[in-house]
């Protein structure tokens, strides 16, 4: 008798699950992701991944039941047990880094999680592989959000610029003349955010971070003359 009741209860649950299409609950993940890179003066690259957001979920649902097509209310099975959502980030640069997990939180909680991996870049023109992925893992149903794995190649390219420097109104300097002693400059975009006080040097060496073949960011320092570009 007891076994029969158990089986009947199971069958009803399965019926509800299948008919409602949402056996494991109706969850809508709302998460933002962001990957950013930074290159320091020692040719180290930092790859930072951020994932944050929340999950919308509902515990109850209605379904048609009874001989008069009445509306009945059911509760998703996961709502009656402890559930946690854990942010997880894969952040690897040239084999350094890996998966990191944030703090498990309640399903309705707002999660903020980020990781940074720093690795040395080899001299140009060599590149290193870099991969990222962000997930939110539910303790009951597994992955509920996946930013999808992204793999790229990161490298550094050097560009030398020469006179005349163009002084801006805010002590900023810009250059539009290349000063490559050898090689060809891969990145020739305008230098962003460089301030030289009290004056602009005649020559600068700009280190550019190249991600997926695109010159992203650069910083520059004074140089004594032209130098090798790549």
């Amino acid at each position: 008798m007891r076994v029969k009741m158990k089986n009947t209860a199971l069958a009803v649950m399965i019926l509800v699950c299948l008919v409602s299409s949402v056996c494991l609950g109706q969850m809508t993940p709302h998460y933002d992701t962001y990957t950013t890179y930074a290159l320091d003066a020692n040719d180290n690259v930092s790859q930072t991944v951020v994932v944050e957001g929340y999950t919308q979920a509902q515990c109850t649902f209605t379904y048609v039941c009874g001989p008069n097509n009445q509306q009945c209310t059911g509760t998703y099975p996961w709502c009656s047990q402890p559930v946690t959502h854990t942010p997880s980030i894969y952040n690897v640069v040239n084999g350094i880094g890996g998966w990191s997990n944030g703090t498990p939180v309640n399903p309705f909680s707002y999660s903020v999680f980020s990781t940074t991996t720093t690795a040395p870049l080899p001299p140009a023109p060599a590149t290193v592989p870099a991969s990222t992925e962000a997930k939110i893992i539910c303790s009951v149903v597994g992955t509920i959000f996946d930013s999808q794995a992204f793999t790229t190649k990161i490298g550094e390219r050097i560009t030398y610029y020469g006179p005349p420097p163009i002084t801006g109104p805010d002590d900023s300097c810009s250059y539009n003349m290349l000063a490559c002693s050898t090689g060809k400059a891969t990145c020739k975009q305008a230098l962003v955010g460089i301030i030289w006080v009290p004056s602009c040097p005649n020559y600068v060496r700009a280190a550019n971070l190249v991600v997926s073949g695109t010159c992203l960011v650069s910083y520059a320092r004074s140089a004594s003359g032209p130098g090798p570009c790549n």
Binding site: A11, V19, S21, T60, T62, V105, G168, V192
Partner: protein
């Protein structure tokens, strides 16, 4: 026929029915109330799809307030930053060309932002029940407060930074939008309009 066989048969029949039901979108999402179940085609884990804006495809659709928030979170240091996070922030400041007062002001403002942001999130999460009960805190109010904090931080930076540095920050964050993916559901509704 044993109970087990009976249950298996029921499952098989219902799975077949589900295959057909799963082809239909029965009710538009915006016509549903909280008590109505969404009958969407089956997907992985049966989760509803979320509208994502991919900044690499449409950076112009990423709201500024969301872009600054993500950038501040990536660059603003927590109370106990790792060596890697410190290196990253220092490199970001270098890239932005922030030196002297600009560098100090930016670091200070973002440190305050990060502390306030954590407080805001912790306060919101404290209202969340320990177990999923169907009760969800007022997420819209939280998102409004969150975006107000980002806006206040931006206003503070406008005062702290030199005009040139503030403009560079804007240009930089604008470019960074290409590496952001945002959920429309994680934006305050007014920012999507």
């Amino acid at each position: 026929m044993t109970h087990r066989t009976l249950i298996r048969s029921v499952i098989a029949l219902l799975a077949l029915a589900q295959t057909f039901l799963g082809q239909q979108q029965l009710v538009p999402k915006d016509q549903l109330d909280n008590q109505t179940v969404l009958l969407t085609p089956a997907k992985t884990h049966n989760h509803a799809t979320d509208d994502q804006i991919d900044g690499s495809m449409h950076p112009e659709l990423i709201p500024n307030i969301a872009a600054y928030r993500l950038f501040f979170l990536a660059v603003g240091l927590t109370a106990n930053p790792s060596a890697g996070e410190k290196t990253m922030q220092s490199a970001q400041l270098q890239q932005l060309g922030f030196e002297g007062k600009d560098s100090e002001g930016f670091t200070r403002v973002l440190q305050t932002f990060r502390a306030k942001y954590n407080d805001l999130v912790n306060t919101y999460n404290a209202k969340v029940p320990a177990q999923a009960t169907g009760f969800a805190p007022d997420v819209d109010s939280f998102l409004s407060e969150r975006d107000a904090l980002v806006q206040n931080t931006l206003d503070e930076l406008k005062v702290e930074l030199s005009p040139a540095a503030f403009n560079r920050l804007g240009a930089y964050v604008n470019v960074e939008k290409t590496r952001m993916k945002i959920s429309t559901g994680n934006q305050r509704s007014s920012t999507n309009k």
